[in-house]
Amino acid sequence: MKLVVVAALVAVIALLGSRISFTRIKLPLGLANLHLIGTEYVLVGLFLGSTFLNLLDTPTLEALFPILGLGLSWIGMLFGVQFELRRLTHIPVTVIAITLLQAIVTMTAVALPFYFLFESLFDYQTEIALIGALSLAAAASDTGQSGIALIARNVPTRARPTLRLLQNISHMDGLVGVIAFGLISCAGSLHNESPAYIWIGVSLGLGLAVGLLIAALTATRLNNEEMLLVVIGGVAFGGGLALYLNLSPLLVNLIAGVVVANVGRARARSGIREVLLTGERSIYILFLILVGAGWQIGSFWTVLFVLVYLVSRSLGKLLGGYFSVSMLPPESGFPRLLGMGLLSHGGIAIAIVVNLHQIHRSELTDLVISIVLIGMLASQLVSPMLTRRLLEGKP
């Protein structure tokens, strides 16, 4: 009974929260940014979890794992359906190049020190340490949209092109993280040492198959109830297959979503997007609460890891931005410290580390989650101020 009562309590918080969260309220910029991404729900989860009230204890959390799985699958599909190639072709190649470059540089800047730290300080196998470090790097590469959105209204006209560039990057760079993590989830050590390329092929094949299935099912006119049924069914089936095989539901459903966005009928595409968006807020809050509840804050050493994470991620974003802008002609007018505007953290980062926790539960995974959560809180506090300074031209 405890499971249901606690689940209902969490659901009520998520339902009511979805009405009041993710809105702009009058707070100092950093706190407003924390509110905008729903950070309070991580703290609610932490309060309900084993650290404090113990309402969401380990057995209860484990029983709610299918919800986490469904949430990951939902996020993956929602992310995927936004990538309609017809629309993407309107985005300049330079923007796509900058997005990729800064994300890859950030991943490298985070993965290297953490691989070294995980392997030298802990007794993990090389491949497991690499999986931990790369997962952290994949999470770090994602840029949140909230910090940029908060200050978008008051940006001077001359800085509008930079603002648009930051917005485009933050819309797209989560893709790099999700794909990177999807590839990490194919590592042999997570699949009884069988070759990774097989699992990469399986991930691609499953995403393609699920996407085509959904496109086929929505090719005929469906009413709203049927559309809801097909979307929930497709999300659960794709995510369930991925999780069953220890793969990333984020990646498999992202591919499925991309297929739907590009193969499905126009009416079906908008119907699917509508259903996915309707549940987005509640699922995201539910997700944050469960993440908070399972959060093992760890020892004092975690703080040091967080510091390393913040420094390496910031360095990666700054260097990535610098290299990208350096390659553009000077008349492009983008500031070389572009990375200052990319420090905000996105929700995809949490999804990535939760996905890691689903397919590989260990102390290292708990540490990775802790680093990302604390790192995210810190980034959210400072990133809007830094973005504003960048856009006002006084870095």
């Binding site: 009974m1 249901v4 009562v5 689940a7 209902a8 659901a11 009520v12 339902l15 979805s18 009405r19 484990e62 029983a63 794992f65 299918p66 919800i67 986490l68 799985g69 469904l70 699958s73 997570l190 699949h191 009884n192 499953l206 198959a209 299935l213 086929a216 099912l217 090719a219 709203n224 109830e225 049927e226 809801l228 049924l229 097909v230 929930i232 069914g233 497709g234 999300v235 659960a236 089936f237 794709g238 995510g239 369930g240 297959l241 999780l243 069953y244 095989l245 220890n246 793969l247 509640s282 689903q358 397919i359 590989h360 539960r361």
Partner: protein, 439 residues
Amino acid sequence: MRQIGVFLVLCFLMSWATSLPKGDALGAHITLVAGLLLLSGHVIGHLMAGFRLPRITGYLCVGLLMGPYILGFMTVETVEELGFLNELAVTFIALAAGGELRVAELRDRMRTIMVVIVSLTIVVSGTVTLTVVLAQFLLPFTASFSGIQVLSVAVLFGTLAVARSPSSAIAVINECKARGPFTEAALGVTVVMDVLVILMFAAAISFCENVMVPSGSLDFSFLGALGFEIILGITAGWIIGRGLAFYTDRVHANLSLLLLGTALLVTSLSHGLSDYLKDTHDLVLRLEPLLICVTAGFTVQNHSEQGEKFIGAVNAVSLPVYVLFFTLAGAGLNLNALQQTWGIALLLAAVRATAIFFAAYAGGRLSGDPPHFNRIAGMAYLTQAGVSLGLAMEVVRRFPEWGEAFVTVVVAVIAINQMVGPIAMRKALIKSGEAQVAA
């Protein structure tokens, strides 16, 4: 053709994935099975509609196919693991059933409903009881029983035969978009009888307990407790209904999800409270989640102005709930039980169906319904599911030495009624002229 192709691909993917080594992710299989059931239920439901059959027959077939006895994508344990979805669906459908009962419309049909209920109760329970007594030789577990003990078991069979399936009825009515006097009477009778059967069962099992213990004398003190439980259930349902009406009026947002949550909470709290009182105070108090939810839905529809919004919110999410509920019901159909007891099961199902046709016809005639309604009325009352199974499990709990054998027969009868009932009901609604689907 596309539907069949999609279904085959789903089966192939499932079969292929489950042949590979399973990963560590907790809850992965449940998520996967839920997705499979939803998608294949949708596909086969569509296919059935093409053959002029109810979609829920398609959902049941999908469950049967995916379940432990045919393709084996779901084991008996998986079906049990997903039991919470079943309970959620039953109470959610009860909310919908209560919401569909409109006093203003029922008032005109009240006489028919009451007469048919009395007629069905007496004729069906009486005929099935008599059949079991006469066909005792087909029930080996009663071989050592005395005459009165056989009669008590027969009364239990007779009582369970009265139970219907509001969930199937509502699903078929919704699918056919049926509206009119015949539909109202069918729904009213089905919902009320599901509550009535709980009372009858309590009396029947008490009678059975008394005759199974040789020195026991008839004890009807349970009736007081039962009355209290009913009053408590109705009060709880009324309070929840008022709360839902208030929420619908003032907030309204995410109402569908709130209703799903309410259904889940009511089920869990009802069972939890019963267990708690039993464990801590040795007090037997069974709150019936179905009664609570029917009352809650009825309260919103008839004691507030939020009825239509409420029904709209129920309908918005009812399809996935129905698909999961009926596919799981299909997966839970015990083919082994049917194989072992098909003789007595077929006999009881046939006798029940005949008695229902006669009782519904007689009830309709007595209340002055048009002859074309009376001729088809029986077809609307064949469905049987959830409640009868739940009550039958109570027999196992109280009489472990022969309860399992009893349940095996009941399950087999339910399996037959579950497959035949929705098809018959759909035909009845179409023949009554109240369905908005093509014959």
